[in-house]
Structure formats: C-alpha cells, structure tokens
C-alpha cells in the first residue's frame, strides 16, 4: 500500500474566490451583507421593508439567489434598486463563484451597500462564504424555537438574528426565550431583533444595526446603539 498526500480543503476554491470578492468590495468601500434563512421565513418581505430605509442614505444593490425564476428579483426591482438575479440551477445555495461576476459589476457601478439574498436553506448557505462583511439570518416563529441547535453552523455564522413573523406569535407554541437562549448557546452574545414584516415592527432596528455596520466599514458617523432586547411576551397558554 502506498499513500498519496492530498491535503486540500474541499472549500478552498470557494474561499479563495470569496476572498477576491471581499477585496473588490473593500477597495470600493462597499459593505456587503448575506441574508439567509429557511424558505419562506420572510427574506424578501424583510428586504421590501428594509431596503427603502437604507436607500434613503446609501446606494443599495441586490444580488438575488434563487434555484429558478425571478419572482423575488421582480418584487425587489419595484423598489427602484439595481437587482441582479442569479439562478443556481440545482444548487441549494449561492457560492462565491456564482456571485463573482455580479459582484464585479456592482463594484464598477454606483453602490455603497450590497445585499445578497441567498437561496432559502438553513444548511448549505452557511458553508459558503461569498465575501460578505456580515451574515444576517431570519428565523420565523412558525419554524419553531428548536432550530438553533438543529442548524448550529448557520446561527454561528449570523451576525444578527432576526426573529420574524412576530405578529403570528400568539398562534404558535414558539417560545422566544428558549429560541434566543439556544441561539446564544451556539453563538454567545448574538444580537437579536424581533420583526414583523406585516406590521413593520422591528424593521427600523434591523436598519439601525446595518447602519452601524455600514458606518463602521465606511468610517462615518454611526447610528445609535441597539437597545437591549425588551422582555418577551408570555408564551401562549395551552
């Protein structure tokens, strides 16, 4: 028997291209955020509410990842922002190579902020660095509070956890305290904002969090600090 030494990281190719993407963005001072969640958690709905707030101050571009179709890109294009649709075909996530060309186009256009809307999936997107500054993940209350320990890598990656569909909370058995505690076991100190894209609750806080991160990267006046998480309502009885 004879041993051939390989010693190659299986994500090495992706990480190298992600580093190129990150460097292109850094040179132009563009802040990038990778928005991830399970399918149907409300990524596009959040962006519909959030991006107009960011666009009041920054030039925002979007790279939209979907397996097929352009329904989400069409929704976001109504916000009058440049949106690039990427269809991943059979891939369940965006990777650095897929977005490389689009990132190249963004850095050559007018932009301060780049938003990647990833394919809905809590597993694979967590493995693939795109070159972003921050990962923002949504967990909707209809998914259940046990998710942080089922998908730990995603919760580790997240810089901000957005707990969405708060308006539906009374209809569910979702225990917000348990969800936040589990998320902070996996990612101690993780920032959490509660939102409802129906009522608009919490969206301004998400915008403020991003504003601080954008300002930090671009070295300009920061938005006020995130207020501490208010106590959650008592879980529904029964």
């Amino acid at each position: 028997m004879h041993l051939i030494d390989v010693q190659t990281g299986l994500l090495a190719d992706n990480d190298a291209i992600a580093a190129e993407n990150r460097e292109m963005l850094r040179r132009r001072g563009i802040y990038a955020v990778n928005v991830m969640s399970a399918p149907g958690a409300g990524k596009t709905s959040l962006l519909e509410r959030l991006l107009p707030q960011l666009a009041a101050r920054w030039r925002v571009a979007v790279i939209e990842g979907d397996i097929v179709g352009s329904a989400d890109a069409e929704r976001l294009a109504k916000l009058d922002l440049p949106v690039v649709q990427i269809n991943t075909g059979n891939a369940c996530h965006l990777d650095a190579r897929m977005v490389h060309r689009a990132v190249h186009d963004v850095v050559h256009g007018p932009a301060d902020v780049l938003v990647f809307e990833n394919v809905g999936n809590l597993v694979c997107p967590a493995e693939f660095d795109l070159g972003e500054d921050d990962a923002l993940m949504l967990l909707s209350v209809t998914e259940g509070h046990d998710k942080p320990k089922k998908y730990p890598l995603m919760f580790r990656r997240a810089g901000l956890l957005v707990v969405n569909k708060m308006d539906l909370l009374p209809m569910t058995d979702f225990n917000l305290d348990d969800a936040v505690a589990a998320a902070r076991d996996v990612h101690p100190g993780l920032d959490v904002v509660r939102t409802s894209c129906r009522t608009g609750e919490g969206v301004a806080e998400v915008a403020a969090w991003l504003e601080r991160r954008i300002a930090a990267k671009r070295g300009v006046g920061a938005a006020p600090a995130l207020p501490p998480l208010p106590p959650s309502p008592a879980p529904p009885k029964g």
Partner: protein, 124 residues
C-alpha cells in the same frame, strides 16, 4: 445537501493527483470532516459511490474521520469541547470563543496499491 458536489469535487481532485503518479488499484480516499461542517457522512458516501462509477476511483472506499468540536477561549486561553452545542468556554464560561476544531472539510490522502509494471505502462 451539497454532498453530491463535494463527492464530485473529491473525485476530480483525486483524478488530478492520480494522474501524476503511477499507481495500482485505488483503495481508499481519506477525508476529515468536522462535526460542525454541514455535511452528512452517509449522504457523502452514497453520492461518492454513485458518482465514482466509471471514474479512476471506482471501487475505492471513502474513509471519513469525524473531528470533534472544540473552542478556544479568548479570555482564559483554554481549549474545551463543545457539549450540547454550547459554545461558551467549558472552563471559565467566557463568551468570546473561536471554533478551534470541528469545521474541517479536508481531503487528506489517497491509499493506492504499489504500481505494477502494467500500471506504469498504462500511465505512460
């Protein structure tokens, strides 16, 4: 869920390495996968078995070494195991920790039989 892509990547990398050296039968591909890597070893095995048919690594076994999850604490400097997916320091309870091991997704090596004369001729 991207195990098929990873299996194909393994087969491609193996092909590149095997092209360079004369060898006999390919026995084993050794990979190291961290507990936190989003890869299911069984799915990877199945994808590898399907995709390796007709390739240079057909018939080879995929040997997966799982790497346990540990964190390094920025506060006290200890390396401790992550138990029940709690990533705080196991020694001082510190919250500022970094994953030390458990994220690996590494193709380590290939076990092959020594090349016979026919193998050397075949690779010429």
């Amino acid at each position: 869920m991207h195990e098929a892509g990873i299996a194909q990547h393994l087969i491609d990398i193996a092909g590149e390495h095997l092209e360079r050296v004369p060898h006999g039968a390919v026995r084993r591909l050794n990979v190291r996968i961290g507990e936190l890597a989003g890869v299911n070893a069984e799915s990877l095995d199945f994808a590898f078995e399907c995709l390796s048919r007709g390739s240079v690594v057909e018939g080879a076994r995929l040997e997966v070494e799982r790497v346990p999850l540990t964190v390094d604490c920025d506060g006290c400097g200890s390396r401790t195991a992550v138990v029940d997916l709690v990533f705080r320091c196991g020694k001082c309870g510190g919250e500022k920790t970094r994953v030390a091991t458990g994220r690996e997704l590494q193709f380590v090596s290939i076990d092959v039989d020594e090349a016979s004369r026919e193998d050397v001729r075949a690779s010429d």
